[in-house]
């Protein structure tokens, strides 16, 4: 079946906000303002943007955790835009979510085994012993040991808690997992463990991810396609290679250029002063990005650009997307010194050897014992 797993068409979410306490004037926060995307089976779509751009709200709307103001959401070929609680109950075992904060998203009063068993109980999967076996398999899948099932969340480090959150999301064999900043709260060495785990799980279970992140480096590692959001709208979406090699929207450029790179020889080449992101309560007219864009024209100040195809599966919302704007190329290629690359490849080989030895040992145990 080639139909996309999830299709989101022009969804909007407006929150009421009291702008003036005294006059009682009502205003609207257009948190998500006409967002469309598709997620194909087995693929990772990343939503990137700065805080307040609406990326997390978009993800929650897609899962119907919040009701949308307008638009359409289809999942596995079914329109779930106005499904009732009962219908959603059935759909939700196929779509799960992993949260950013591994401390807040686990119930501190439940043992890990209970946390992982709960979704199975809710959906009436198997009997007690089958569920126990399933919990053990899940823990093994995310790199936790069996005895961890008897412990409480506070006994675990941030990285291990995130593994528990991932195992919980996997419990019901979903086809889509929304990863809402899953590694942002973790240290870089743990971040690498978790992103590697998410990639391994994706290939072994053919999962689709909607990957929400503000970290473009992590996105480049995880995503197949990327959608860049700015103040409630998608400004550019493209396959990963195209987006990182040749970003076409000035905001995408600005974002990419702003990331400090771990290479002292590479001096950043940033666009002109960028200012702070404007408030979503009162966004700028026309193209929301125009006050921070050095290519803005009069048209940009008045008319909001539509998201239109720009070849190679790319969509851009910029009036000047076709023009040859004067910007410096994005730096590409390895930023690691030869010595560092050489030593890291030794580390990787060492790791592979140890992994083979470990599996060998496990097999011996299994056959010998």
């Amino acid at each position: 079946m080639n139909a996309p797993l999830m299709e989101v068409i022009d969804i909007k979410k407006h929150f009421p906000a009291n702008s003036s306490f005294l006059s009682g004037e009502k205003s609207l926060v257009r948190a998500v303002d006409g967002v469309s995307f598709t997620i194909n089976r087995g693929e990772t779509l990343a939503l990137v943007g700065e805080s307040g751009c609406g990326k997390s709200t978009t993800a929650r709307l897609a899962l119907r955790l919040q009701n949308i103001t307008s638009g359409t959401i289809k999942f596995e070929g079914m329109d779930i835009t106005s499904s009732n609680a009962r219908a959603l109950h059935d759909v939700r075992r196929r779509m799960q979510i992993i949260f950013q904060d591994p401390f807040a998203s686990l119930n501190p009063r439940m043992k890990v085994g209970e946390i992982l068993e709960e979704p199975l109980v809710i959906y009436g999967v198997g009997d007690a012993s089958e569920r126990k076996a399933r919990v053990a398999a899940l823990m093994n899948q995310v790199g936790l040991a069996d005895y961890h099932a008897k412990r409480y969340p506070h006994e675990f480090s941030g990285g291990q808690r995130q593994r528990i959150g991932i195992a919980r999301a996997l419990a019901l064999n979903p086809s889509l997992i929304v990863c809402d900043e899953p590694v942002s709260a973790l240290d870089v060495s743990i971040q690498a463990q978790i992103t590697n785990l998410l990639k391994d799980l994706q290939s072994s279970l053919s999962l689709s991810y909607l990957f929400i992140s503000h970290d473009l480096s992590v996105v480049r590692y995880m995503a197949d396609r990327v959608a860049v959001m700015y103040l409630g709208r998608i400004v550019e979406t493209a396959p990963k290679e195209a987006l990182f090699a040749d970003p076409r929207h000035p905001y995408t450029r600005t974002l990419l250029a702003a990331v400090p790179q771990p290479d002292p020889r590479r001096k950043p080449d940033r666009l002109a002063p960028m200012g702070d992101p404007p408030s979503p309560i009162n966004p700028p007219s026309g193209c929301h990005f125009h006050p921070r864009c050095r290519f803005a024209t009069d048209r940009c100040r008045v008319e909001a650009p539509a998201l239109v195809p720009a070849g190679d599966g790319r969509l851009v919302a910029c009036h000047r997307a076709d023009e040859d704007l004067e910007w410096s190329p994005v730096s590409q290629g390895s930023d690691m010194s030869p010595a560092a690359a050489r030593r890291l490849s030794i580390c990787a080989k060492m790791r592979a050897q140890q992994e083979v030895a470990r599996q060998h040992e496990q097999n011996n145990e299994a056959t010998g014992g």
């Binding site: 870089v188 992101p277 030794i346």
Partner: protein
């Protein structure tokens, strides 16, 4: 490669180029009383900060990098103390200095900015009043109106638009980036010789981070101040720092100029950090993560503290002395008996 063993490298270095060093720390040990007994968050740290330069202390949470900076400022929590070592600031020993004397240094000659500007600013006072307080705390003779003028000037210098109006605003009226600019204005208003920046951009969006980093660099060029930059982000290190020290579990495992450490990273932990950092300029097949996690302070491994997570660990790594510093090249020190790794794993080096 010949390795010259020199456990007291920081003193040797400080002596040979002492005119160049504004702050040097030798054998610093900071301990905390806890239910599990006395634990050392910083354990034998040697660093020197060159005048007008930026030294980055890089490491993950719990490695002691923040406690190191609080030790310098003598702002340690009640159950913590510097139990050993020296902190030499412009010829003055800071360890054990009376609080009254420290108050004349803290904020005036060594200033500090923190990660979360919202919690560092007092929500009940205007930003102007908070900057004025900082000025008058160190110089009682400055009148309020003069101090106010200086506060406005300081806000302008850090790029706050309409500073004359903004000076009377409260912290909640400013964006995160603006608040961090206010913190920087406040820290620099007394023209300190040393600025300690503890994860100054971690809470900020990436486009705002870029602006704050640019601002710090241009202010450094303007004033000639020296910066200790505490961060977990190797990208920020590469962009900002001249020298760097990689910290793990309370100790420095590798230190040198930024170009030396990035060009020729030696310690397996430094390599692990580099391997764990996803790259924005390249499609990586797989990240070379570090296995396991940081040990708790009260259960530190013997010998090299990284050995349980290290791919290259051998029996000698587990005994005392394994974490002694060696000089790999001039000014580039590493605390690993297995470095460089390719010489110890020839069969894998092909």
């Amino acid at each position: 490669m010949t390795q010259k063993s020199s456990p007291y490298f920081s003193e040797l270095r400080a002596d040979s180029v002492s005119h160049d060093v504004v702050l040097s720390i030798a054998g610093l040990r900071t301990t905390f009383r806890t239910d599990a007994g006395e634990v050392a968050a910083v354990d034998g740290v040697n660093i020197s900060l060159r005048r007008g330069k930026t030294l980055a202390i890089v490491g993950e949470s719990g490695c002691g990098k923040s406690m190191l900076s609080l030790s310098i400022m003598q702002l340690l929590p009640g159950n913590g103390r510097v139990s050993d070592g020296r902190i030499d600031f412009e010829g003055k020993m800071l360890v054990g200095v009376p609080e009254a004397e420290m108050q004349a240094i803290r904020g005036k000659r060594i200033a500090m900015i923190f990660q979360e500007p919202m919690t560092s600013l007092n929500p009940a006072f205007t930003i102007g009043n908070q900057i004025i307080e900082a000025i008058r705390a160190h110089d009682k003779d400055v009148t309020f109106s003069v101090a106010r003028e200086r506060a406005i000037k300081a806000l302008k210098r850090v790029g706050i638009p309409a500073a004359e109006r903004r000076v009377d605003e409260y912290p909640h009226q400013l964006s995160g980036g603006m608040r961090q600019r206010v913190m920087i204005a406040m820290a620099l208003v007394c023209e300190p010789e040393v600025l300690i920046a503890d994860e100054p951009t971690t809470a900020l969006d990436v486009t705002v981070q870029a602006q704050i980093l640019e601002l710090l660099k241009s202010l450094q060029n303007e004033t000639g101040m020296s910066i200790i930059l505490i961060t977990h982000d190797l990208g920020v290190v590469a962009e900002m720092a001249d020298d760097m020290a990689v910290m793990y579990a309370g100790r420095i495992v590798e230190t040198g100029s930024v170009s030396d450490v990035f060009d020729d990273p030696q310690h397996p932990y430094t390599l692990g950090l580099l391997g764990s950092t996803p790259k924005i300029s390249e499609d990586a097949k797989r990240l070379v993560a570090i296995k396991g996690s940081v040990p708790p302070l009260f259960r530190m491994p013997t010998g090299c503290r990284f050995h349980p997570r290290c791919d290259f660990c051998i029996a000698e790594c587990k005994i005392e002395g394994a974490s002694r510093m060696s000089e790999i090249s001039e000014g580039h020190f590493v605390a690993c008996i297995r470095a460089p790794v390719e010489e110890n794993c020839r069969e894998l080096a092909e």
